[in-house]
């Protein structure tokens, strides 16, 4: 049995905001199935009561003083923008996406 179906791969592409072509989905479905079957080996490890590690080093939160510091000028922040207008990022419509 395959670890992942093509329909699931198409769903993942939507969640990942990747508008993939049908041939890309076909190719990826086979590869992801192979990879997921391989990485599922982690489930062989007896890990009852083993705490998870999200980070290699013990970390505590780091704070800095809440002080006004120099930051990017508007023209610097907008320099790489695909589109800008009146010192703002111009973006496509964001409302009624589900309509």
């Amino acid at each position: 049995m395959s670890a992942i179906t093509r329909a699931e791969v198409a769903h993942l592409a939507r969640l990942s905001r990747l508008a993939l072509r049908d041939d890309e989905l076909d190719h990826l479905a086979a590869q992801l199935d192979q990879i997921i079957s391989a990485v599922a080996r982690v489930q062989e490890v007896a890990a009852e009561d083993i705490p998870p590690t999200s980070h290699a080093l013990p970390l505590t939160n780091v704070y800095r003083a809440d002080e006004v510091r120099p930051s990017l000028a508007p023209e610097q922040a907008l320099a790489g923008a695909p589109a800008a207008e009146e010192q703002r990022f111009r973006v496509p419509r964001i409302l009624d996406e589900e309509a």
Partner: protein, 501 residues
């Protein structure tokens, strides 16, 4: 190759300090070398000779004015295109960032500049540092200077190729699962992954934030230590930066001895899948360490065999989150914005066009592993394995000072051989991944040529913040092997100039 490009970083710095060479002469010699061989090697994505010479002349002026300069002032360096640079484009090897000029310098970039290093240009890499061959670059193929039909390793393959081809004495890299050590191994140079948090991630385009670690490439161990010292140390701009003194890596590289050290051979990293020539050079190096006064024992780290599957859940999970920032809104590529499509449609079209196949695979794999219903079975389990791997290291380091293994199971493979076989490609990082998951220090140092005439790397691992121990052992191995070879391993590489090989 000119007399200057044949020299290491420390030697060049001494020549400039004594006035025998100027930084401008050194920079020009390297620009000439790049012009002569980079058409074949393909290490660089961006080189602007004027910017390079301006940096070099500024160093010469400061020196002439009597200013006290750092130990690497005027030395040229190749900079991986994953670090932001205000005066050069930064693409991370991706079409989605084509032509992007960052508004700020990465901390590593800023520290290279502060140390007076002359940045020659930006080096090619697997897109967003995902890969082991640099074939996942959206821009060009980088070739191994030892055999131009083979890969230079990855993801920092432009950096390894530049140093091995004498286009630069030093280079930066980043290591998330082996992306410094594996390219160093397959090109016959030195590559070091410092302790996680020892070098700043600020301005490093993120792949997997709990693993990404900037580190140095060089043609000898001491030069790598000099570079690591130059860009390491606490950075308030990186919340995971370690607020402790940088280990005394330069001093350790000069000390170069293993007498009295206990060295552990990782039992799990041998056997099937290891090229015979790699296994043979490794076994000879074990014997060499004993002859140098080290005590060598075999150590079992049973959970290391699960490091690869755990990594290919953790790293894609983190990447699927990190790469969400490439949304076509604030910077980078935007396609399909025709006034009718929604932001979400434009985002999906842009990401589909801007990302290459490996990046798409990993984003989707990570999205899968983090999905409700699968999270516990995949990502959660991988995080538990990460704990077990760290415990294996802790237990091993109670018995031994350093652990060793081959850096990668095979020598450089032919370009194209694994390009569309992700699982085969992932095996290149089999031995390097544990130190990323545990965050400790690890280096690759050349230990000879395999039966195919290609370089083999020795990996030396030490506990977190014991980077100095790694350098001490690596320099001892390097010194003894160079005595045996009658010079550095790279002296045996074919000549590139004139189109040979």
């Amino acid at each position: 190759m000119s007399e200057l490009t044949g020299k290491g970083a420390g030697e060049l710095a001494a020549l400039m300090a004594s006035g025998e060479a100027s930084a401008a002469q050194v920079a020009q010699a390297h620009l000439d070398r790049i012009a002569a061989v980079d058409g074949e090697v393909g290490a660089f994505l961006h080189v602007d000779p004027e910017t390079v010479l301006a940096q070099a002349r500024a160093i010469d002026e400061r020196r002439a004015a009597g200013e006290e300069l750092g130990p690497l002032a005027g030395v040229p360096i190749a900079h991986k295109d994953v670090f932001t640079t205000t005066d050069m484009p930064t693409t991370a090897g991706s079409k989605i960032l084509e032509g992007w000029r960052p508004p700020y310098d990465a901390t590593v970039t800023a520290r290279l500049r502060a140390a007076g290093l002359v940045i020659l240009g930006k080096t090619n890499m697997d897109e967003f540092a995902m890969g082991s061959s640099t074939e996942n670059s959206a821009y060009r193929t980088t070739r191994n200077p030892w055999d131009l039909s083979r890969i230079p390793g990855g993801s920092s393959g432009g950096s390894s190729a530049a140093v091995a081809a004498f286009e630069a004495p030093l280079a930066t890299g980043t290591d998330t699962g082996g992306s410094i050590r594996q390219p160093a191994a397959v090109t016959g140079i030195v590559g070091m992954k410092p302790t996680y948090g020892g070098s700043s991630r600020y301005g490093l385009i993120a792949f997997a934030s709990s693993l990404d670690t900037p580190g140095p490439f060089a043609r000898n161990v001491l030069d790598a230590a000099l570079l690591q010292e130059a860009f390491s140390g606490h950075d308030p701009m990186d919340s995971t930066s370690v607020d402790q003194p940088v280990p005394a890596v330069v001093e350790a590289a000069r000390r170069a001895d293993v007498a009295g050290m206990t060295v552990g051979v990782v039992k799990e990293f041998s056997g099937d899948g290891y090229q015979p020539g790699v296994a043979a050079r490794f076994a000879e190096t074990v014997a060499l360490l004993e002859s140098l006064g080290a005590k060598v024992v075999e150590v079992s780290c049973p959970n290391f065999t699960y490091a690869l599957p755990a990594y290919y859940l953790i790293a894609p999970s983190e990447c699927s989150s990190n790469l969400a920032r490439f949304d076509a809104m604030r910077f980078g590529l935007r396609v399909g914005d025709d006034g009718a499509r929604s932001a979400e449609e434009v985002m999906a079209l842009t990401r589909a066009e801007g990302f290459g196949p490996e990046v798409k695979r990993r984003i989707m794999l990570g999205t899968y592993a983090l999905s409700s219903g699968y999270y516990d079975a995949y990502y959660g389990k991988a995080q538990q394995v990460r704990t077990l791997i760290t415990r294996d290291f802790d237990a091993a380091f109670e018995q031994v000072d350093v652990l060793i293994s081959p850096t990668t199971p095979t020598t450089a493979f032919p370009i194209g051989e694994r390009a569309d076989d992700p699982m085969a490609m992932y095996l290149a990082d089999l031995c390097t991944i544990p130190s990323n998951l545990a965050g400790n220090a690890a280096i690759s140092v050349p230990c000879g040529l395999s039966d195919d005439g290609l370089p083999v790397g020795l990996q030396i691992m030490a506990p977190a913040l014991a980077d100095d121990r790694v350098y001490r052992a690596a320099a001892a191995v390097e010194g003894a092997l160079e005595d045996r070879w009658g010079g550095p391993l790279l002296a045996q590489a074919p000549d590139l100039a004139g189109g040979a090989k």
